[in-house]
């Protein structure tokens, strides 16, 4: 898990991040998007999901869907806040587990 500080300066938040690849054949369609939003939503931390240059709020089903992440897409799970570590771990496990579709 990486720790990054996107803007160098005073009191910038620390984001934990980890890269993950989408394993399941259908990619991030409706059901996985819901699971991501539900999982992320349980944490206090801000949680984001990024793909290429786009980063979205992982707690938003609709925004996660708009990533249009097909099988093999490389995503970055990022979280910042109290339970950031647990949030990243949970999401990474969810994606790597193929959302129970494999």
């Amino acid at each position: 898990m990486l720790q990054t500080q996107p803007n160098v300066g005073a009191s910038t938040p620390t984001w934990l991040e980890e890269e993950v690849e989408v394993p399941n054949p259908q990619g991030i369609h409706a059901r996985p998007a819901m699971l991501i939003a539900k999982t992320a939503g349980a944490f206090k931390a801000q949680v984001a999901l990024g793909r290429n240059d786009v980063s979205v709020n992982a707690k938003s089903t609709i925004h996660v869907l708009t990533l249009v992440a097909e099988q093999g897409a490389r995503l970055v799970v990022r979280a910042c806040g109290e339970d950031a570590r647990e949030a990243v771990e949970a999401l990474v496990a969810l994606v790597r587990g193929g959302f129970d579709e494999m």
Partner: protein, 576 residues
């Protein structure tokens, strides 16, 4: 009077007033708010969203009870979207920053996302969900209650552009007498629900909602696929007569519901139902089915647009098994092409009918095959279940399928999960090669099920859906009759059960012939089950054998049909 033609989705005739649903346009005010009105507007918006969520949750609960959990995923998606924090933030921001009404904010944000979804091949089907929640929020903003379809005063025919799952789940079955929609096809949601409820339905009408207002008198002829709006006296009389005849017929048939399907002389035949959804079991049993002879499981894939999870498979099979309470249940593993696996998928095969579909797709996607088999086996623990493999062409396929079943059984054993060790395994006889080596295949399986729909297409080299040649699709062709005769004969010789689940088994004109050839298991659409039973109960077995032998002697299918028509008329006048 306006007459419209659509697709016959569920048989029968109904005459009643129209209840038009889902008027698609909500008035959206472009009024600019005074800044002081904004906080109240934001609150009104938030309240409506919460109300919408509560409503979907209660419908979801109802769906779980009535429909066996099949639509839970759709409602989950709606709730998830209604709870979406970004969506909410965007709409609140719009109200705040643009001083617009909540209605305007909701619609513009939804439109924005819909555009993105429409542009992505694999999100296109989800646009419907966006519009559904837009609708739900709007309804609560307007203070409108959902059309209360659960408590209607008098008989109505529901007219809609398309019926949403939440609407169909809440229908007051006692008052809704027919369904008519602009969109949809034979396998659409509306069609399945209508057949499950046993009410007439016509779909694919194109623009019915444009021609009907609430209160119009409608005739829905779900057998012919016709709808008449505000019929003139003569037309109304004609349909009243038709409806009356059908009703009398139904009443008569209902009397034999519990009686066995045996010929006048006591030759016993078994009648089962073909179903596509757990919701159809009740009506199948009501119409006298002794069990389910064909459960077409690919419908689990159609509604979702992506493969079901093991739990979703299991929920459906378990629901059916429970409803059958020990009666036979034959579950066919998924019988479709790869295009149905992708949301919004289109086949890239040049010749999908001869391509990677059904059991072939199962072998290529063992993950999906095993998932389905696990669920079927788990459901077999409380049922008299059989597994049916489609599109089998040779021994290798049967043996591989059986091996995968046994491996799956070993997995379940290791995990201590119960299942029926003696679950019966069978294959569809629908590809000519299978029919020709039926004697070799008989050794490997417990039963055959003759799938006449595809058997006729493959044997006569006809695409039924191709208007240029569809007239060549003829089950009475001597080649088909010979194949059927021979497969039944092989079954008898080898001690392998033979059933028929294709349309031919439900077509009254072939009933005498099939009984005469020795077929003892018919699996038919619940809609025709009572008529088939009536015919069987009225025929004489020895006479049926004579008819079968003679029918096989004709060279011309037209002569065969004419002969069968006369033979059937002997048995039950007016039913051929």
């Amino acid at each position: 009077m306006v007459e419209k033609k659509g697709i016959a989705a569920s048989p029968g005739v109904a005459i009643a007033e129209a209840l038009v649903l889902d008027t698609r346009e909500f008035p959206i005010s472009h009024r600019k708010l005074h800044p002081s009105e904004v906080p109240a507007e934001k609150e009104r918006f938030e309240r409506s969203v919460e109300d919408a969520i509560a409503e979907v949750q209660s419908i979801q609960k109802l769906a779980a009870e009535k429909a066996g959990g099949e639509y839970l995923r759709i409602f989950d998606a709606h709730i998830s979207m209604l709870r979406d924090p970004e969506l909410r933030r965007e709409m609140l921001d719009a109200i705040e920053n643009s001083c617009c009404t909540a209605e305007f904010a909701v619609s513009s944000v939804i439109k924005k996302h819909a555009r993105v979804f429409l542009a992505a091949e694999f999100l296109k089907d989800r646009v419907r969900d966006l519009y559904d929640i837009e609708h739900a929020i709007h309804r609560h903003l307007q203070g409108l209650k959902r059309e209360d379809l659960g408590h209607l005063e008098s008989n109505v025919i529901i007219v809609a552009h398309d019926l949403t799952p939440s609407q169909t789940v809440t229908l007051d079955k006692s008052k809704v007498v027919a369904l008519a929609t602009d969109g949809g096809g034979r396998t659409s949601h509306t069609a399945i629900i209508a057949r499950a409820l046993g009410i007439p339905a016509v779909v694919g009408l194109g623009s019915l909602t444009a021609d009907v207002v609430a209160g119009d008198l409608l005739v829905v002829d779900g057998t012919a696929g016709d709808v008449v709006v505000n019929p003139d006296t003569r037309t109304l009389d004609r349909y009243h007569a038709k409806a009356r005849n059908l009703h009398e017929h139904e009443v008569r048939l209902a009397r034999i519901r519990q009686l066995p399907a045996e010929t006048a002389g006591g030759h016993r035949v078994h009648l089962y139902a073909n179903i596509e959804s757990p919701m159809e079991v009740d009506v199948a049993l009501q119409r006298g089915a002794e069990g389910v002879g064909l459960y077409r499981t690919e419908f689990l894939f159609f509604e979702k647009g992506s493969p079901p999870t093991e739990e979703e498979h299991f929920e459906a099979y378990h629901h059916v098994a429970k409803a059958l309470a020990g009666r036979p249940l034959t579950i066919r593993t998924f019988d479709m092409g790869g295009d149905k696996l992708e949301p919004g998928g289109i086949s890239t095969e040049k010749n999908p009918f001869l391509g990677c579909r059904s059991i072939r797709l199962c072998f290529q996607r063992m993950d999906l095959f095993r998932t389905q088999l696990r669920a079927i086996l788990r459901a077999s623990a409380d049922a008299k279940a059989s597994i049916l493999f489609p599109m089998i062409t040779d021994l290798r396929e049967v043996r591989l399928a059986k091996r995968v079943v046994h491996e799956t059984m070993a997995e379940l054993d290791e995990a201590g999960i119960p299942f029926d060790r003696n679950v019966q395994l069978g294959i569809m006889i629908e590809v000519p090669s299978a029919a020709l080596i039926a004697d070799l295949l008989a050794k490997e399986v417990d039963f055959f099920s003759i799938g006449t729909n595809d058997l006729v297409q493959y044997t006569l080299a006809v695409d039924r859906g191709n208007e240029c040649v569809s007239a060549l699709y003829q089950p009475a062709h001597p080649a088909i009759l010979r194949v059927v005769r021979d497969v039944i004969e092989v079954g008898r010789r080898k001690g392998t059960r033979v059933a028929m689940c294709g349309e031919m088994s439900g077509e009254l004109i072939f009933a005498v012939l099939l009984v005469g050839l020795g077929l003892t298991e018919f699996s038919v659409s619940p809609a025709v089950l009572p008529q088939v039973k009536e015919l069987i109960r009225s025929m004489d077995y020895d006479r049926a054998r004579e008819v079968a032998a003679r029918a096989l002697s004709f060279e011309d299918p037209e002569e065969t049909l004419q002969y069968l028509k006369e033979a059937t008329a002997e048995v039950v006048p007016g039913d051929a």
